[in-house]
């Protein structure tokens, strides 16, 4: 069994070419979740189905048949709680993690779902500039909330890495770390990130190149890319929040914004949470 996880579209022809792989299959509608999971499981190990839906979370048709499928449900908006409430009992039975955008509605939605025991995640790349203050509020809730609640990614992964003294890219919590996930298109071409896949920036042109040193080297280079920030004397390299953020928001910015303060606050919160560990619910669900 290969260890790298591949994120690929739900293309039967592509899936037939893959064997004994760890797969995340990406679909664009909730209706495709079950067929995609079944197809992926024919010859491979399914990590999860990533449903990048266009429908607001509250209006999605949730199905009982999703129960044995690990699902990452990425929704463009949270919607109204009253609609979510109607399906809450079913949501709780599913092996589901709901990803919401880093905007006002998304942050509120993530907090509400987590407080009701549903694992959630925040997607950073859907807004040009996160509201770091609101994000800090959610992060504090995620790590220090006084009542039991489900984890909120990527905060949970970041905190776990930090508590265990591991220096890892927390991007894997949001499927954005080539050391954990490679992105494949319908033609079998490989990219290091979702953004690069969409932009056509591939590190391999065919599935046959997946396990070659070329891809491994590209992944290693990306893993060590943070070193360039120090060589360039980038402001991220001098930032107090570096230990957690590792320059993830450096691209395209020529001056610091509030992200540094956020990550410094987060380190304080993690330190504090280490002292009173325990409020999180032990959620036996898949993790990215």
């Amino acid at each position: 069994m290969h260890t790298t996880k591949l994120i690929c579209p739900n293309e039967p022809a592509l899936l037939d070419r893959l064997e004994k792989r760890n797969l995340c299959v990406r679909v664009s509608s909730p209706e495709a979740i079950v067929p995609a999971a079944n197809k992926a499981r024919e010859r491979n190990h399914l990590i999860c189905v990533i449903c990048d839906a266009e429908t607001s979370f509250d209006e999605m048709n949730v199905e009982e048949s999703w129960q044995d499928i690990p699902i990452a449900l990425i929704a463009p908006t949270f919607g109204k709680f009253r609609n979510v409430s109607r399906n809450l009992a079913l949501f709780k039975k599913l092996n589901l993690r709901v990803y919401l955008p880093c905007d006002e509605g998304g942050l509120v939605g993530a907090r509400l779902l987590a407080s009701l025991g549903i694992p959630t995640g925040i997607v950073f790349d859907k807004v040009p500039r996160p509201d770091w203050e609101a994000l800090a509020d959610l992060m504090t809730y995620a790590l220090l909330g006084m009542a039991a609640h489900a984890p909120i990614e990527p905060f949970q992964t970041m905190a776990d890495c930090c508590r265990q003294g591991r220096s890892e890219d927390w991007g894997r919590a949001i499927f954005d770390d080539p050391s954990s996930y490679l992105h494949i298109d319908a033609m079998g071409r490989t990219a290091l990130s979702r953004r690069e896949l969409i932009a056509g920036e591939f590190v391999a042109q065919d599935l046959s190149e997946l396990d070659t040193p070329v891809v491994a080297k590209a992944v290693a280079n990306r893993r060590d890319a943070w070193q360039k920030l120090f060589l360039d004397n980038h402001f991220c390299a001098r930032c107090g929040g570096w230990r957690l953020c590792r320059g993830r928001f450096a691209d395209g910015r020529d001056e610091p914004d509030d992200c540094g303060e956020f990550f410094q606050d987060m380190m304080d919160v993690i330190e504090q949470s280490c002292k009173n560990l325990g409020p999180q619910q032990p959620v036996e669900k898949w993790r990215p």
Partner: protein, 348 residues
């Protein structure tokens, strides 16, 4: 039980409103945020609370009122909403849809209704109240605030029958607001109010409607005959005055509306809901230690000593102190905070 104020805004302008002064002053934040709702749910859950109330202003004005109500139910709380019933058709329909299929023990409403002939309101308001009762009557207990001695209750019995409301009637005395001039029932008039209430006993009996006394009724103004009737009908009587604990949209806490000006605190100063209750209960005890009760005889009353009666509402006492010697109340609060707060509540 915690009272969460979803908003400071209200639609009505009741002459007796004992929340009016606080509402007028608290314009800093109109609506409670989702972040604060989740914090409060966590705080109350961690404190072991199972029930809470939603208040306003008019809570149904909050743009996410239905969502907040359903969220708190989903968090496992039994939720009582105190409403005037005056709400938009959209909100009412959303409410009916949201509650459909839920057991009535999860949520219920106390609809405080004014007598339309004694407390006139625009026709549209009355129509909205009727629409609310028509749609959600089975979830609703009527409430009536008494602010005049010649109050007329007959209309409530008509509403209970017509809309199938719960057969209990919350009866509240309109309380004075220290430092303000709302209409309220004076201590010397409470006996007459109870006598008038007793005059409706045939209607209460015929329709099996149980009167529920809110805080501030003194036991000594109820005759043995009236007490016997109340006990037979209601099962249990209430002559106490405990802190209600109101929590504002910006997370301030106080004892109750009439005593909102008496040492308002930030919720974040307390570790648990029990600590808040203890803080205000002890503060009330300090005030009562100074005056006793609303009547001279309260000082030596055996029922008060046995805690069967609080000696009337603390707001009546504070109103008297605020009118006669305002510095006394400040001294009490100051001394209390210095001497009792850390010791009695564990709050630093």
């Amino acid at each position: 039980m915690a009272n969460i104020l979803l908003t400071n805004k209200c639609i009505r302008a009741c002459p007796y409103c004992f929340a009016g002064k606080e509402m007028a002053l608290s314009s800093r934040k109109d609506f409670i945020s989702w972040e604060n709702i989740v914090y409060l749910a966590d705080f109350l859950q961690a404190s072991g609370e199972k029930h809470l109330s939603l208040l306003g202003g008019e809570p149904a004005i909050h743009p996410q009122f239905v969502d907040i109500l359903l969220y708190l139910i989903d968090r496992g709380f039994g939720v009582t909403t105190f409403t005037s019933g005056v709400m938009s058709t959209t909100t009412r329909e959303e409410l009916e849809k949201g509650l459909a299929g839920l057991l009535p023990d999860k949520a219920h409403f106390v609809c405080n209704i004014n007598n339309p002939s004694q407390t006139p309101a625009p026709k549209s308001e009355n129509e909205q109240v009727h629409a609310f009762l028509s749609g959600l009557g089975a979830w609703t207990m009527p409430g009536f605030n008494i602010y005049r001695k010649d109050f007329d209750l007959e209309f409530i019995f008509d509403l209970i029958g017509r809309y199938g409301l719960k057969k209990r009637l919350r009866l509240g005395l309109a309380h004075p607001i220290p430092g303000s001039e709302n209409e309220f029932i004076r201590a010397e008039d409470i006996g007459a109010v109870i006598e008038r209430l007793y005059s409706y006993r045939d209607l209460f009996n015929q329709l099996h409607v149980r009167p529920n006394f809110d805080c501030g009724f003194p036991l000594c103004r109820v005759t043995d005959e009236q007490l016997g009737w109340l006990a037979r009908l209601s099962g249990r009587m209430n002559f106490i005055c405990n802190p209600a604990i109101d929590i504002t949209p910006d997370m301030q806490v106080y004892c109750c509306f009439p005593l909102a000006s008496l040492n308002k605190k930030s919720l974040f100063e307390f570790d648990s809901f029990k600590a808040i209750v203890a803080y205000y209960r002890n503060l009330q005890a300090c005030v009562r230690g100074e005056i006793g009760g609303i009547y001279e005889e309260c000082a030596t009353c055996v029922h008060r000593a046995q805690e069967m009666c609080a000696g009337g509402g603390a707001c009546q006492l504070v109103k008297r102190m605020a009118d006669e010697a305002p510095e006394t109340i400040l001294d009490i609060v100051d001394a209390y905070d210095k001497a009792y707060l850390p010791e009695r509540t564990g709050v630093a």
